[in-house]
């Protein structure tokens, strides 16, 4: 199990587990449901000094960059290390979320990251220099983005609600992707429905953090519930707090990681649709707000999407 060897390679995790009389090896063969007894890590601790929690392998340091975790759910923004190699896991979660909506991305030719952020372009490594599917970044703030998007004709888009609102507001005629994956902040239901109607494809509201990557996808029937992407994460709700264990291989291993978001509960199946996997109920955290510099609202165009 990739997580075990990464935890073993991290000084912080070795010390933390050792202090509890545990070792990462003891995780092997144990059901994930027992993780409740295991030590975890909070967002605050990680942001104070992320370095002890890393388990780097040869050559991975060169692919490290600072990603800023928004303050929409508490303190912030906080810098967390992310790595080129995380990109593959992120794409795998995209594929998992798309599959649940009947879209198979296994044969995808390319994707597009439609960036609505001002400032320097996000490095492509934000999604990893993915070996399997190239993801091209296009800035929505630069002229000619629609033409470039037409030329690229990507199988999927990934963007924030702000980016999606900007695309719709532009009225540009662009080829519809097979699926749209919205991340970063909560996607308003109205915006999702409008996008699905106009783009004629599923629009998935992914719940994601800079630290963990995407780990839940909004229920298509009821945007309040989120289906856990079980291929990449094991999620618990502990006194309302979300604890995420990343199952994929990452230089930043996370066990029982307490993200700053909250949920009312975790059901074994979705109460609103036929989804039979773990579902987060009443998820809150990265919501839109009228003010606050860390919110998507700061980037939403004044004019409503038409």
């Amino acid at each position: 199990m990739a997580l075990v060897s990464r935890l073993d390679g991290s000084r912080g995790w070795r010390d933390r587990l050792g202090a509890a009389g545990l070792s990462a090896r003891a995780l092997l063969g144990r059901p994930l449901e027992e993780l409740g007894d295991w030590p975890g890590l909070s967002r605050e601790e990680l942001s104070r000094d992320p370095l002890p929690w890393l388990a780097l392998r040869e050559g991975e340091l060169e692919g490290m960059y600072a990603a800023w975790s928004s303050g929409s759910s508490g303190q912030g923004p906080l810098a967390v290390p992310r790595f080129d190699v995380d990109g593959e896991d992120r794409l795998a979660r995209f594929a998992e979320a798309a599959r649940a909506r009947g879209v198979d991305l296994s044969s995808a030719r390319c994707g597009a990251f439609l960036c609505a952020l001002p400032g320097r372009p996000e490095p492509l490594t934000w999604l990893g220099q993915a070996r399997t599917v190239p993801v091209q970044r296009l800035s929505l703030l630069k002229d000619g983005w629609a033409e470039r998007l037409c030329a690229l004709a990507p199988d999927f888009w990934t963007l924030s609600p702000a980016g999606l609102a900007r695309v719709l507001a532009s009225g540009a005629s662009v080829p519809s992707p097979r699926v749209v994956l919205s991340t970063a902040l909560q996607l308003p239901g109205e915006l999702r429905r409008e996008a699905e109607r106009r783009l004629r494809c599923p629009v998935v509201d992914l719940f994601s953090t800079a630290e963990t990557g995407p780990f839940a996808a909004g229920c298509p029937a009821d945007g309040r519930h989120f289906h856990v992407l079980t291929g990449g994460a094991f999620v618990r709700v502990d006194a309302g707090g979300l604890r995420v264990t990343r199952l994929g291989d990452s230089p930043l291993p996370l066990l029982n990681y307490l993200v700053a978001d909250r949920a009312a509960g975790l059901a074994s199946a979705c109460p609103s649709c036929r989804h039979s996997g773990p579902t987060l109920l009443g998820l809150t955290g990265r919501t839109l707000s009228e003010k606050g510099e860390h919110s998507t609202a700061a980037f939403l165009p004044r004019a409503p999407a038409t």
């Binding site: 992320p50 340091l61 810098a79 952020l117 001002p118 998507t296």
Partner: protein, 188 residues
């Protein structure tokens, strides 16, 4: 039956450390121990060469005192008499034992059980004396685990790596902060 290292170490840890046998006395005690093995003791010059082999004659002399202390005050001395090595190059092995202790911080020996264990294990290893309850492979593994030089080298490597990661992280953060002033609205 091998050398009962555990009780030897326990006894050594419980003893008041001062004063250890000094100079010629410690060499005499070691000579007696070696005689108990059925071997001719090293010459005075061989003891001096062995002491120098650890890199510093003065520190080497202290290590010989530690061995003498263990021989005279713990079950180690008595257990040697039960062994009859087939080799005869005693002086060479004593030299090799002390040479393997190069870099060992002798000042830590009185208060650090791992360092005492290292001294005794290196001596027993050089003299090919088996340790009670351990296979040769287990003894070699344990010797590696308490080897100060090896541990220090690993820690030094880890420290270099830690600094490299810290510098890279500080640089990446600074680059991002400088290049994206409006990053406060960043994703996730």
């Amino acid at each position: 039956m091998g050398i009962p290292l555990k009780p030897v170490l326990a006894a050594l840890g419980a003893l008041p450390w001062d004063p250890p046998p000094r100079g010629a006395v410690s060499c005499a005690i070691l000579s007696d121990g070696i005689r108990d093995l059925g071997l001719a003791p090293p010459s005075a010059s061989a003891f001096r060469d062995a002491a120098a082999a650890c890199g510093d004659a003065e520190r080497g002399a202290v290590l010989l005192q530690v061995l003498a202390f263990a021989l005279s005050r713990t079950p180690l001395g008595a257990s040697l008499a039960q062994h009859r090595p087939t080799w005869r190059d005693t002086e060479k092995r004593l030299l090799s034992a002390l040479a393997s202790m190069k870099g060992l911080p002798v000042e830590q020996v009185p208060r650090n059980g791992f360092r005492r264990e290292e001294v005794l294990r290196k001596f027993l290893h050089a003299f090919e004396l088996p340790i009670d309850g351990e296979s040769p492979a287990e003894s070699a593994t344990r010797l590696g685990a308490v080897d100060f030089r090896r541990l220090k080298a690993a820690m030094d490597r880890e420290e270099v790596e830690r600094r490299r990661v810290a510098e890279a992280w500080a640089k990446r953060k600074a680059e991002e902060a400088a290049a994206a002033p409006s990053r406060t609205g960043s994703y996730e």
